[in-house]
């Protein structure tokens, strides 16, 4: 939904229109500049990376860093681990949050208001509050390096936000369809899974994208629970590429790694731009 708002600039002078356009493109450039710079760096040759002054266009663009990156085994593992953990967490989160949201939206559960307040409060706590008790739990249950150690917290910490978005969406659905389905002999569970959820596909997609991005980007828990190289997710994996000495960092491979790990998100953003903005606005705020 984009509504145009006249802001008093309707009798626009031609030049101010051009300035607006220029400024807007500057904002766009500013937003993608560091990412584009990583792409450029990743295509350079080792000698060009450290040439001064820096070149804006690679002289001999090549993909050798990318092939080197995937030849080194752990990196492909990091990527697949992230993909697996984020996907499973997102699906589980959507399932549980739809159930809870339906309950909040349709079934007058006692204490619903109190519970949603609690959810909002919990979502405000930073990860540092939870990481140590969770670390203890991971150690006691022996689930370190097991995807489950990340999936369970990822589902939990995305629940509040997902429940809030989905509750407000379910409230907008008309009750008549559900009542008609009840008359047709649908059970309540069938109404939720066969009527309400398919009707909510757009909201589920929006929520799913936001949850997926959140899981993909998580760092602290992954860094702490996934100690074995083959179990790391991409954020913790890439951060561990950086050695103790910043001067000797392998900048070429790192740039390639940054590009690859961000690419899925850039694609999601490009395709679902409108949906994401809607979701972020509907959910109020989420980092």
């Amino acid at each position: 939904m984009t509504t145009k708002i006249p802001t008093g600039k309707q009798k626009t002078v031609h030049s101010s229109r051009i300035w607006l356009q220029v400024l807007a493109w500057l904002v766009a450039c500013w937003c993608i500049a560091p990412f584009v710079w990583q792409i450029i760096t990743s295509l350079k040759t080792p000698s060009e990376i450290i040439s001064i002054p820096a070149t804006l266009v690679p002289k001999h663009p090549n993909l050798s860093y990318y092939s080197a990156l995937f030849a080194r085994k752990p990196f492909a593992r990091y990527f697949l681990n992230s993909l697996f953990i984020s996907t499973v967490s997102t699906l589980l989160c959507l399932l549980f949050s739809s159930m809870a949201a339906y309950s909040f939206a349709r079934l007058r559960v006692r204490g619903a208001r109190w519970m949603s307040l609690m959810l909002v409060l919990i979502s405000l706590f930073p990860g540092i509050v939870f990481f140590f008790p969770l670390y203890e739990m991971v150690r006691v249950t022996g689930t370190a390096n097991n995807p489950i150690a990340l999936i369970i917290p990822y589902v939990t910490f995305n629940l509040p936000f997902a429940i809030l978005i989905l509750t407000s969406f379910f409230r907008t659905l008309s009750v008549e369809i559900e009542e008609a389905a009840k008359v047709d002999g649908f059970s309540r569970l069938q109404i939720l899974f066969k009527i309400v959820m398919p009707l909510s596909a757009p909201a589920l997609a929006t929520t799913g994208i936001l949850v997926f991005i959140g899981c993909w980007n998580e760092f602290l828990l992954s860094l702490t629970f996934m100690t074995r190289d083959s179990s790391k997710t991409i954020t913790a994996g890439i951060a561990s590429l950086s050695g103790a000495n910043t001067l000797e960092l392998p900048w070429g491979p790192i740039a390639a790694a940054v590009v690859i790990s961000t690419l899925p998100l850039v694609v999601l953003v490009a395709v679902f731009q409108r949906r994401i903005i809607q979701g972020l606005s509907a959910g109020g705020v989420k980092g």
Partner: protein, 297 residues
């Protein structure tokens, strides 16, 4: 009669649907909070062979006398204050701009989502490269434009490292601020602008008289949320500077993390979390109350 029976089972069914969610939240979110609270009254460190021993307020007394802790709180406050103020101004500017119609608006908006969507930990590496003292593009740009004459070791100096971290944070979160404020702007009723235009007001006036006051609730919300969030900042600093050089960029989350996993001082780390929580809650309220009063007027 029928209806009341229906509602009864509605209740039950509602709870059944809520059960998985409640279980997750209780075990993975509520329990850790209570555990931290409990742990903060115990001494559990290398001195006690990592066994928990009740020690009353000892940890809290230690925290209050710990200069290192307050330095990290101070660093966090400085970071939060500068970063969030710039983010708010930039975000507001971006939102005003993107609220206008122009060619390629969808593309510009998609670009603005990229910083928000990028993983902070990965992004931090990208910025480390940009701020690299020898080969970084940041020095290159500044030297070429004549702003500086010699390369600056950005991540090696105390003030410059803070600058770099704040710069990266602003880059990442200003577009997010923009999205929230843009949503708020699009909810402002058009007729308010029309009314003020009839009075012959120009665009600056329509901003100060309509946009800004109507936007205050969104601004308040976004501001509070960002303050709370940046108080817990971890990834960006951890990867970019690790808290250094010295302790110059060590935020309270980094110090807490180190207390747990490097110094293995679990009870003390827990007490730091509790004290930080109260400091942050106080700060949030100190910002919320005046804004709330302003919004009511």
């Amino acid at each position: 009669m029928d209806a009341s029976r229906d509602r009864m089972s509605d209740q039950k069914f509602g709870f059944v649907l809520l059960t998985p969610g409640i279980m997750f939240v209780l075990c993975i979110a509520i329990y850790p909070i209570l555990r931290i609270l409990w742990l903060s009254f115990q001494t559990q460190n290398l001195g006690t062979d990592l066994h928990a021993k009740f020690s009353g307020m000892d940890n809290y007394i230690r925290v209050i006398n710990d200069g290192h802790f307050f330095q990290s709180i101070y660093t966090t406050c400085i970071f939060t204050f500068i970063a969030v103020s710039i983010e708010l101004l930039l975000g507001l500017g971006f939102a005003l701009l993107l609220n206008e119609t122009f060619r390629g608006r969808g593309f510009v908006r998609a670009c603005a989502l990229i910083p928000w969507a990028m993983p902070t930990a990965v992004l931090a590496l990208a910025w480390t490269w940009v701020f690299n003292d020898q080969f970084g593009i940041f020095n290159d740009l500044l030297i070429n434009t004549g702003i500086i004459s010699h390369p600056v070791v950005w991540l090696g100096g105390t003030t410059t490292a803070m600058f770099a971290v704040i710069f990266a944070d602003v880059w990442k979160t200003a577009p997010f601020m923009m999205i929230i404020l843009l949503a708020g702007m699009q909810n402002i009723r058009r007729d308010l602008y029309e009314a003020i235009q009839i009075d012959g007001a120009h665009s600056v006036k329509s901003f100060t008289l309509v946009t800004l006051p109507m936007l205050m609730p969104s601004i308040t919300l976004a501001l509070l949320f960002r303050i709370i969030q940046s108080f817990g900042i971890f990834d960006l600093v951890f990867v970019m500077t690790g808290g250094g050089p010295g302790n110059s960029t060590e935020t309270v989350a980094i110090y807490t993390y180190n207390t747990f996993l490097r110094y293995l001082d679990f009870g003390y780390g827990a007490a730091m979390i509790i004290v930080t929580f109260f400091i942050m809650a106080g700060l949030s309220l100190a910002i919320y109350w005046p804004l709330k009063r302003f919004n009511q007027n």
